[in-house]
């Protein structure tokens, strides 16, 4: 079934594919987050904006990834084999996921705390950076975990258009009837997803040390 000797002989293909897979998955998370924060802020602030942004984001998320990979070169003017297509497509999904997360995360910040910050003399930008954003981290990180795991799995679909990181080993394995190659691709992708999910949980604990310290209160 599984040919263990396949691994050492293919190590020099596996390692770069792993790196490419990570880059293709995580760069969109970063880009998506940067785009989603202001959009989520707007959605939280204004009811009409939310009524447009949240459903549109939901709609974007329903577009099958393969369709997006194929449509994007036409829209962006890129080559079909350009990795930019994958990055842009996954960024779109990340934004779609996170707009709602950011809006919900900000809505979860207690109004009393925001009012107190305003009354202390915070101006809106600083209040957002120092009060609202930190307090929205727990909900925001939950959204980031979903986006990250989703992206790590979606990159492999890119293999169908030739840019798939570890997904290559799956499509290639199917093509050649090589079970080991399929197995390697699947396992490594799952492991990556688990590792980065755990990493985000850890980061979340480190950046929100105040969460879960209660007990004496009231």
């Amino acid at each position: 079934m599984i040919d263990w000797s396949w691994f050492p002989t293919n190590a020099e293909r596996l390692v770069p594919a792993l790196g490419a897979h990570l880059l293709l998955a995580l760069l969109p998370v970063v880009i998506g987050l940067i785009v989603a924060i202001p959009l989520g802020w707007v959605a939280n602030r204004s009811r009409p904006a939310r009524a447009v942004l949240v459903p549109v984001a939901g709609l974007l998320y329903t577009i099958p990834s393969l369709v997006l990979f194929i449509l994007l070169p036409g829209i962006l003017g890129t080559q079909i084999l350009d990795p930019v297509n994958v990055v842009v497509a996954l960024s779109v999904y990340t934004v779609a996921l996170l707009v709602r997360s950011v809006a919900d995360a900000l809505a979860a910040v207690p109004g009393m705390v925001v009012a107190a910050a305003t009354a202390m003399g915070y101006r809106p930008a600083r209040r957002f950076a120092q009060v609202e954003l930190p307090l929205s981290l727990p909900v925001l990180i939950a959204g980031l975990r979903v986006a990250t795991v989703t992206n790590i799995s979606l990159v492999s679909v890119g293999a169908l258009i030739g840019i798939g990181g570890l997904g290559y080993f799956i499509t290639d394995g199917f093509g050649r009837g090589n079970t080991t190659s399929i197995f390697a691709g699947v396992i490594l992708i799952v492991v990556l997803a688990l590792v980065f999910d755990a990493l985000l949980v850890l980061i979340g604990r480190l950046v929100t040390p105040w969460v879960g310290v209660g007990g004496k209160a009231r």
């Binding site: 705390v113 009012a115 107190a116 009354a119 202390m120 307090l135 105040w210 209160a217």
Partner: protein, 369 residues
Amino acid sequence: MIEFRGVTKRFPDGTVAVDALDLAVEDGKITVFVGPSGCGKTTSLRMINRMVEPTGGTILIDGSDIMAGDAAQLRRGIGYVIQQSGLFPHRSILDNVATVPLLLGWGKRKARERATELMELVGLSPEMAQRYPAQLSGGQQQRVGVARALAADPPILLMDEPFSAVDPVVRENLQDELLRLQSELGKTIVFVTHDIDEAVKLGDKVAVFRTGGLLAQYDEPGHLLARPADDFVDGFVGRDRGYRGLGFLSANGLPVGELSTVGSGATGDQVREAARDGWTLVVSDAGHPLGWVQVGQALSGPVDTDALIAGGSLYDTEADSLRGALDAALSSPSGLGVAVDASGAVVGSVRAADVLAALATARRDEAAA
């Protein structure tokens, strides 16, 4: 001085929260805004630091229009204590207190030094500095809220129902603490509450609001209890206002009568000899009251200090008002109130009839004045 001149707040839906309010808040005093919900007291408070902006009229602080400058700048110069403290859950207690100094650009070190001083001032132990708000009790959180509001030493302090979420015992402590702080700091404090007892206890002046944002009466608490402007204020001030009003009359000049006392080791004969109208008070070696003995109780041996009849409240001749004196007399089993000095040692007795006579004198003096 904070001055409201014809201030009106009409919300977009047409509700008038505050209607042409004219009111001057005096410097260095506690002014309490009190009234039922929907009376505009909170809106009035929040207009002072522009958390709510008036739709008509002007608010002046020391003669200048608050709408003239920058809102954030104005707010940094006005301390604000919010309901349920509104502390930043993600910041340590020390950093919560240091908020406004940091906003004013003091530098971290100086801001934290100041915050440490403030924590001490409000009675929070230094080991709480690095805790998060969720690790503190409601009462402690409220203290942090007060410390945070005072951190940059603002001349004005706005307190928006700050003690409404804590239990009655803690609330009373916090109120006493506020009065103690105020006697040291002399801030101009505007305090909002729906609790008339709190208003009467804390206020140098009390503004009673009625539904619709109208000022029903603006007066010293003693006057409010003695002479409510109308039926609304009368009803709002509530029951027992005559009795509560005694709290604002000085007990100076109230005669302190004799009181028969015996030591805790007294014999039955000594008790019988000392007793007046069948009662005598047993005191400790330091002169503190222990309880009453009634002649006719079995007095075979020496006085049994465990079998004494519990006394009533004590009347502190140096600090209490007529209310304290009357309560001491009414709550004493013998009908004689026990008067004590600041150390708690018995100095004599007080009678209800004397308190009523003192009240009559105070009324006559006031009518003459």
